[in-house]
């Protein structure tokens, strides 16, 4: 039984979104939560799920268990939100298989296939199993969401406006489906704006501006609210203040809820053995049994593998993303190479003897400075151009990575997905992308332009700057509210790299010292230039640039710290709840 006792929810300036809501729902029950827009229906559902933002008061119990102390196990609860929880690039079968693998320990092989088939069959989606989500109809997508949720056989299924936007037939089918799902020893609560099909529900709860105005059989609704037609219900609610409706309901509730509550109380009694009832203190095994989830979650490693496989599948199915990546990987190195297509020019050294007169020395020094300035700027510029393009690729890699699928991730987190598995899967996928981009960039410039220096060390610094920017942008993606916001901030971050690196214009000392630790481009630029130490170009670059270079080991160290900071930010950001 699910029991809400005087549940209130306050947000912002202590404004009550829900006020003193008390409800009881037995198992094997199908209930609708209805009310006008903004009455708190979805908020009530989120409060039950434990994801409503704000300060909660009152108590929520599930099978006599206080949820504040022992929350729902991930497999106990299914929550179907208003938004799509499936990746458009996958088929319905792949979505359900991924949901099963993320939620059920040991699901693989034939057992997995059978489970997926049965689940798809249960929601009537078997014949569309191999269709991409992107081509499914609205009703089919809702069915798919339900299939993914029942994959862990939850005892309570919360559905938030799952029929909104559907045509009459699709709505009918989905409500019938929910009705069927409630028959499997499961409580199904469905928030809906629609007043059609109310006769299919075992009970209906009516909310009005955060207060409970009614909870009882659908057949008694018209009588209780004194309306001839249920379509007039919401207009009728507006005729009285919420407090009046709450007071009225407190007065008359017993008569309407007796049947529901009797069923609920019988359930509670069933759940205790005679022995447990005779003890004042509940026995430890009984407590354990109530707290134990019915389906065991897979390990973090298993979830990581499932997510990584799914990420690669999505990547290779997204033709646009694939072409963009190929374009960047192949095109950006060409952009760099055109500045030194025929190799780097040589510089004539200054005479080291004392056999030139002052005028000759000055003329030679002047020529040398001109050449050194040109060649030094070219070498420094080619390195910085590679670095900046790689930071741009890094921002493109990760800026949208989490933010674009945040709602799906939040949903999966609610179903037991571990943040560490999620971030690890992102890190590995992005690292492979980063490696391909950076190594190709380094090799192309080295061989096409004949760029000198230690190639291995150069590849390390190019890879590290791309990894650092990708990692930081992954962190940004985890903290931003939307994909657009995350992309914008990531691009701004790249924009700051060039001017603040000091590679083009020297910064005032104190500004340079303050900002340089945060500028990945500087450390990579400096690190790559250090690989030229054995070359004449190193001295020439040092003559031209006004910003001091740092030791190679220090550059690698700082870039590694940037990678760690980014992953740490991504992990903390992923733990913060964004399902509002």
């Amino acid at each position: 039984m699910l029991e809400l006792q005087d549940v209130s929810l306050f947000v912002g300036d202590e404004e009550a979104i829900l006020s003193g809501v008390s409800l009881k729902f037995p198992r094997r029950h199908f209930a609708a939560i209805i009310g006008p827009s903004g009455c708190g229906k979805s908020t009530l559902l989120k409060t039950i799920a434990g994801i409503a933002p704000g300060r909660e008061e009152g108590g929520i119990r599930w099978d006599t268990r206080d949820l504040i102390e022992h929350d729902f196990a991930p497999s106990e609860i299914g929550y179907v939100p208003q938004f799509s929880i499936a990746h458009e690039e996958l088929t319905a079968r792949e979505c359900v298989a991924a949901a099963v693998k993320l939620r059920r320990r040991g699901a693989r092989g034939e057992e997995l296939e059978t489970l997926v088939e049965n689940t798809l069959d249960e929601v009537g989606l078997l014949e569309f199993a191999d269709r991409l989500v992107s081509v499914l109809s609205g009703g089919q997508k809702r069915r798919l969401a339900l299939a993914m949720e029942i994959a862990s056989a939850p005892a309570i299924l919360l559905c938030d406006e799952v029929t909104s936007g559907l045509d009459a037939q699709a709505e009918n089918e989905v409500v019938q489906l929910l009705h069927g799902l409630a028959g499997h020893d499961r409580l199904v609560l469905s928030v809906t704006h629609s007043l059609r099909h109310l006769d299919l529900y075992d009970s209906v709860a009516v909310l009005h501006r955060g207060v409970l105005a009614y909870h009882g059989p659908a057949a008694e609704l018209a009588h209780y609210f004194r309306v001839e037609n249920l379509e007039d219900l919401y207009a009728r609610l507006e005729e009285r203040e919420p407090a009046d409706w709450a007071a009225s309901w407190n007065k008359h509730s017993a008569a309407y809820t007796a049947e529901i509550y009797e069923s609920a109380v019988a359930e509670v009694i069933e759940s205790f053995t005679a022995e447990e009832l005779s003890d004042e203190d509940e026995s430890a095994p009984a407590k354990q049994r109530r707290a134990a989830p019915s389906v065991e979650l897979p390990g973090a490693g298993s979830q990581f593998v499932t997510l990584l496989a799914r990420r690669f599948r999505i990547f290779f199915r997204s033709r646009g993303q694939l072409l963009l990546q190929l374009g960047l990987i192949l095109g950006f190195p060409v952009l760099v190479a055109i500045f030194a297509w025929n190799g780097l020019p040589q510089v004539q050294n200054l005479s080291v003897g004392l056999d030139l007169n002052v005028v000759q020395q000055l003329a030679e020094a002047s020529d040398f400075l001109k050449q050194a300035s040109k060649v030094g700027s070219l070498v420094s510029g080619i390195v910085m151009f590679q670095v900046i393009l790689l930071t741009l690729m890094g921002a493109n890699n990760a800026g949208r990575e989490i933010a674009a699928e945040r709602l799906i991730f939040e949903k999966e987190k609610l179903s037991g997905l571990r943040c560490v598995s999620y971030i690890a899967s992102k890190a590995v996928f992005l690292f492979l992308l980063v490696a391909a981009q950076s190594i190709w960039m380094g090799l192309f410039v080295h061989f096409v332009c004949g760029f000198p220096g230690d190639l291995g060390a150069q590849l390390v610094f190019l890879l590290l700057v791309n990894a650092a920017m990708t990692s930081i942008c992954l962190g940004i993606s985890a903290w931003m509210a939307s994909a657009e916001q995350a992309s914008l901030v990531s691009i701004y971050l790249v924009g700051f790299q060039l001017p603040l690196s000091g590679a083009v214009l020297a910064l005032p000392d104190w500004i340079g010292a303050a900002v340089r630790p945060f500028i990945s481009a500087y450390w990579s630029w400096s690190g790559v230039l250090q690989t030229l130490r054995g070359e004449r170009y190193y001295d020439i670059v040092q003559m031209v640039v006004q910003t001091a270079l740092s030791p190679a080991a220090k550059c690698a160290w700082v870039l590694c710290i940037h990678v760690v900071i980014g992953l740490f930010l991504a992990w903390t950001g992923s733990r913060a709840s964004r399902m509002t």
Partner: protein, 132 residues
């Protein structure tokens, strides 16, 4: 706060993580700055003392960072004698690059860190050098 948010993100983690990373950065910077100078254990040459009485420093080993100014002389058996502008004091000192180090490309305007030994004749003889 939502039930599920209670056990999720703690702002203290960000603060603790930030402090840890600043400490890592500072420690790494110090360590790598030290490690990047291969001659950090050698004492810096006090140019004024050397110019005043080079004999008093005979047999000692010092480090000097500076710019190559000119080649003052060359002998196939002895090596090259170059003039070096010392960064720290703007003084100019002569440095002998022995023939064993003759393979090193040394050009006018380059900056090096020299590991120098003061010979019995009071000459600054390079034992090793690396680009600054």
């Amino acid at each position: 706060m939502a039930r599920r948010s209670r056990s999720s993100f703690q702002p203290q983690w960000l603060i603790a993580g930030g402090i840890a990373l600043v400490a890592l950065f500072a420690a790494g910077s110090y360590f790598f700055n030290q490690a990047s100078d291969p001659y950090r254990t050698a004492a810096p040459l006090v140019v004024a003392t050397y110019l005043e009485n080079s004999n008093s420093l005979r047999g000692n080993t010092y480090r000097v960072q500076g710019e190559v100014l000119n080649v003052l002389g060359y002998s196939p058996s002895e090596g090259r004698l170059i003039s070096v502008g010392v960064d720290a004091t703007n003084d100019i000192v002569p440095v002998l690059i022995p023939s064993e180090l003759g393979h090193r490309d040394i050009e006018k305007g380059q900056k090096f860190i020299f590991l120098l030994e003061v010979t019995d004749q009071g000459i600054l003889r390079a034992k090793d050098l690396t680009k600054a």
